[in-house]
């Protein structure tokens, strides 16, 4: 059974609009890719061609290259990201429970956001 906690603080959700896998890569990711490219050279088999990393411009392109290379070096890391177990708040009073249900209704109404 999940434990209930006395002191709980709600953390705001990140807006979906924050996501942009077409964002141009930063200098940090550019160098991360360069480092992986150095590793790739040492992993090439006869006849294989080195990835042209100069064509990697966006975070999506970078993530695909990083996934391919990381899978070669560390296949154990292929599992799905997960969140920590979600803790429960202490049992609500009837009044508190009623307020919570109102909030839920509001959320349903704002589904277009």
């Amino acid at each position: 059974m999940t434990k209930k906690y006395k002191l709980m603080m709600k953390v705001p959700k990140t807006p979906k609009s924050a996501y942009d896998h077409g964002r141009f890569i930063s200098s940090l990711i550019e160098h991360q890719i360069k480092h992986f490219s150095e590793v790739e050279k040492s992993l090439l088999k006869p006849g294989q061609k080195l990835t042209d990393i100069s064509k990697i411009k966006t975070e999506l392109q970078a993530s695909k290259y990083l996934k391919r290379m990381t899978a070669l070096l560390h296949p154990q890391g292929a599992d799905k990201p997960r969140r920590a177990a979600q803790p429960k708040k202490p049992t609500k009073t009837a009044k508190g429970a009623k307020r919570k249900s109102k909030v839920k209704t509001k959320r349903v109404k704002r589904k277009s956001r």
Partner: protein
């Protein structure tokens, strides 16, 4: 006799975020918590017109620093010394942040954004951790430069003479903290977020030591299953990419221009993974720290430090002057979390004559001294580093006295 907090300590977890300065993230807390060495609100920098621009509590989660502020060695030199060229007797004044940002093609108005900071309500997670546990007033990045060389100090206690983002190779006899731990029969792991984000510790560690890596998913599972290593280093997600089942995975590293709120959620999730396992909570210390300031304003002059015996030549630094690793980089947020840390602990820094200076070499330095006791090959900077576990006391705070985040 060590305090009970140290006596019961079995796990040290370090979460290293990206590119935000102390004042930018925590500077606003000074008004409510005067011991925290943040902002008065009167700090300023000149812009390219010579107009003095004050710090402003108008930092945005995203879209404000979309030109990645310069944090390479010459840029940070400009930020610290205000544009005074290298030479004897020049004085650090922290007056070159706007000038530096203006060189990146930003308009005069946009260059002022480098002076922005977050009010506490914008960063509920970081604020809660800083005020509920221990905040370090004097934790500096190890080098006035970018990510890779600074992260190297967290893994090796040195950057092997590098001040940039280029590949470097380990020079014997120095070993990473993970190799030291494993060879001595202890356990240690670097957890990267997922394969699409991967790790910044590629050539030396992922290529040669894949057994010391795990994914963030594995970290959460290890917390739940009481299988967490003695030492863990966590890397956030460094890019936006599609998730499993058609979902979207957001970068959580807080590197500009990634969304700062998502980083807050990542910090909260990492904290919760430890906090919600009572056995783990009582035996773990979590350090949340940033690798470097990312070009963003901080008012504290970085102090001198013990040189680690390396020197970067003038052509490597790009300033026209060699660097002997005898000065630290700009100050970053650092928070130590444990139920043995009293609420509202502030570790004084350079503002106090008796204050303490911390930098990333403190990470392998502290982990080595705690788990391995005597280790001959620690680097010069590690040997001179402060132990970041000193805020742990004898008193275990009651479970009802420590927060949990609702994600």
């Amino acid at each position: 006799m060590p305090p009970a907090g140290l006596d019961n300590l079995k796990h040290i977890v370090v979460l290293m975020m990206e590119n935000r300065s102390f004042d930018h993230m925590l500077g606003s807390l000074t008004k409510q918590y005067p011991k925290i060495n943040g902002l008065t609100g009167n700090e300023s920098n000149p812009d390219m017109n010579g107009t003095m621009v004050q710090v402003q509590p108008n930092a945005k989660f995203q879209g404000q620093l979309d030109h990645d502020p310069d944090h390479h060695f010459p840029g940070v030199d400009l930020q610290i010394f205000g544009g005074t060229p290298p030479g004897p007797g020049r004085v650090a004044n922290m007056q070159g942040f706007i000038k530096s940002y203006a060189t990146q093609g930003t308009s005069i108005n946009d260059s002022h954004a480098i002076m922005s900071y977050f009010p506490p309500k914008s960063l509920p997670v970081l604020t809660k951790l800083a005020t509920e546990f221990a905040v370090f007033n004097g934790w500096f990045s190890s080098i006035p430069g970018p990510t890779i060389c600074n992260r190297a100090f967290a893994h090796y206690g040195t950057s092997f003479g590098n001040v940039d983002m280029n590949l470097f190779y380990i020079q014997d006899p120095i070993q990473s903290i993970y190799e030291r731990m494993v060879q001595a029969g202890h356990t240690a792991k670097i957890y990267y977020y997922d394969q699409q984000s991967s790790t910044m510790e590629i050539v030396n560690l992922l290529k040669n030591q894949p057994q010391i890596f795990g994914s963030y998913s594995q970290f959460v599972a290890d917390c739940n299953g009481n299988t967490l290593p003695e030492y863990s280093f966590i890397e956030p997600c460094y890019n936006d990419h599609p998730g499993p089942g058609g979902g979207q995975v957001l970068a959580s590293d807080q590197h500009p221009d990634h969304n700062v709120q998502e980083g807050e959620r990542f910090i909260a999730n990492t904290y919760n993974a430890i906090r919600t396992n009572q056995q783990l909570w009582e035996t773990t210390a979590l350090l949340v720290v940033y690798d470097e300031h990312g070009g963003i304003y901080d008012h504290v002059v970085p102090p001198a430090c013990q040189s680690d015996g390396y020197s970067a030549t003038a052509d490597k630094t790009g300033t026209g002057e060699a660097f002997n690793f005898d000065r630290l980089g700009i100050r970053v947020p650092a928070i130590l979390v444990s139920p043995y840390v009293p609420r509202g602990t502030v570790i004084p820094g350079t503002e106090d004559p008796n204050g303490l200076v911390f930098e990333h070499a403190c990470i392998p330095g502290t982990v080595t001294s705690f788990f391995l006791k005597n280790y001959d090959q620690a680097t010069v900077r590690e040997k001179n580093s402060r132990n970041f576990l000193t805020p742990l006391t004898d008193t275990l705070r009651p479970d009802d006295d420590c927060w949990v985040f609702d994600l």
